[in-house]
Symmetry: C2
Subunit: 217 residues, 2 copies
Amino acid sequence: MRVGVLGTGEVGRPLASRFIADGHDVRLGSRSADNPTGAAWASDQGERADHGTFADAADGVDLLVNATPGTVSLEVLATIPDADLDGAVLLDVANPLDFTDGFPPTLSLANTTSLGEEIQRAHPTARVVKALNTVHNSVMVEPDRVPGHHHLFVCGNDDAAKALVREILAVWGWRPEDRIIDLGDITNARATEMLLALWVRLYGTLGSPDFNLAVLR
Amino acid sequence: MRVGVLGTGEVGRPLASRFIADGHDVRLGSRSADNPTGAAWASDQGERADHGTFADAADGVDLLVNATPGTVSLEVLATIPDADLDGAVLLDVANPLDFTDGFPPTLSLANTTSLGEEIQRAHPTARVVKALNTVHNSVMVEPDRVPGHHHLFVCGNDDAAKALVREILAVWGWRPEDRIIDLGDITNARATEMLLALWVRLYGTLGSPDFNLAVLR
């Protein structure tokens, strides 16, 4: 599979490296083609790793991952030609965390909308899937860092796109039969992004990002 | 203990009945002293049960519970004399769910504030404790309806008030040593109220309100 990952930060690099480890070809995208972090990552990860602009990363991929800071994601996606987003499976793992007023952050989009919804609205022919945004980057690619039976929430309008994402997540240990909860369409992104208010407080209370929620019934 | 419960609805009555079952004296408060739901509840619950206005319910109690709809809670509390709220332990179980635009609801206060915080701000000498707002009323008073090891979040500025609430919750099965997570001060009400966005979606997905979240680490 060819995978593009938007964002060279603490979320983008671990995800991109995991895709490389899984045997995919990965291009990491950033604002400039000569971004030193992107270049270092590609050099470190070998032949199947590449880097470039956001538009380079989105060009002709089977899966595009938005791992940019949520407050700039819409702006980043606007730099990508419509043709590359048309029909693309766009896995959005970002949260619109706004640290303008310090800690704890607020959300720049919330309650009556969400980043996932706004991305889908801005790019109506992309197939946006929201997932992974409720766990730390370390847990995203290695759920067994947290012992026990815990859950990941997935939502999006396109069933085939969600199925592709579930296949990828299954490889990482998020078993589709008992660890994934499909909340429905992309408006449910609101629910999982608003969970971040609790997530950041729990991080402070527990003192480690290696935690996750389980839904018990 | 003398307990006042504000609100005669689906949350207030079960809580009030549970306090009666626990051996406390309970007054259920509503807008009018002759509210038929309040009168029927008091008649049904026997000698230790009474009903009256919101102000009647708050008069001289050891614990006051806000179980009114979150969108009207501030207005309700404004009808209670300051003297009755001064120093009072005020357990706020409400959520500011706004159904104006149908389902799913949004929150009338969110992200940069919360109902718990606004109650504390409006009544600075009350000792507000936010708890129980993340589970259905059936689970509030009987956590074992949901099997397994799941959690309740508590927050507030006053440690003695939180300790009293924890004692009550322990009687209901919310063991303080392993089922209660104290998030800290009342600003954390933001986090637990925003969880309702996920709660209402999960209710729809799971088809039953008998569920709760567990924090795994």
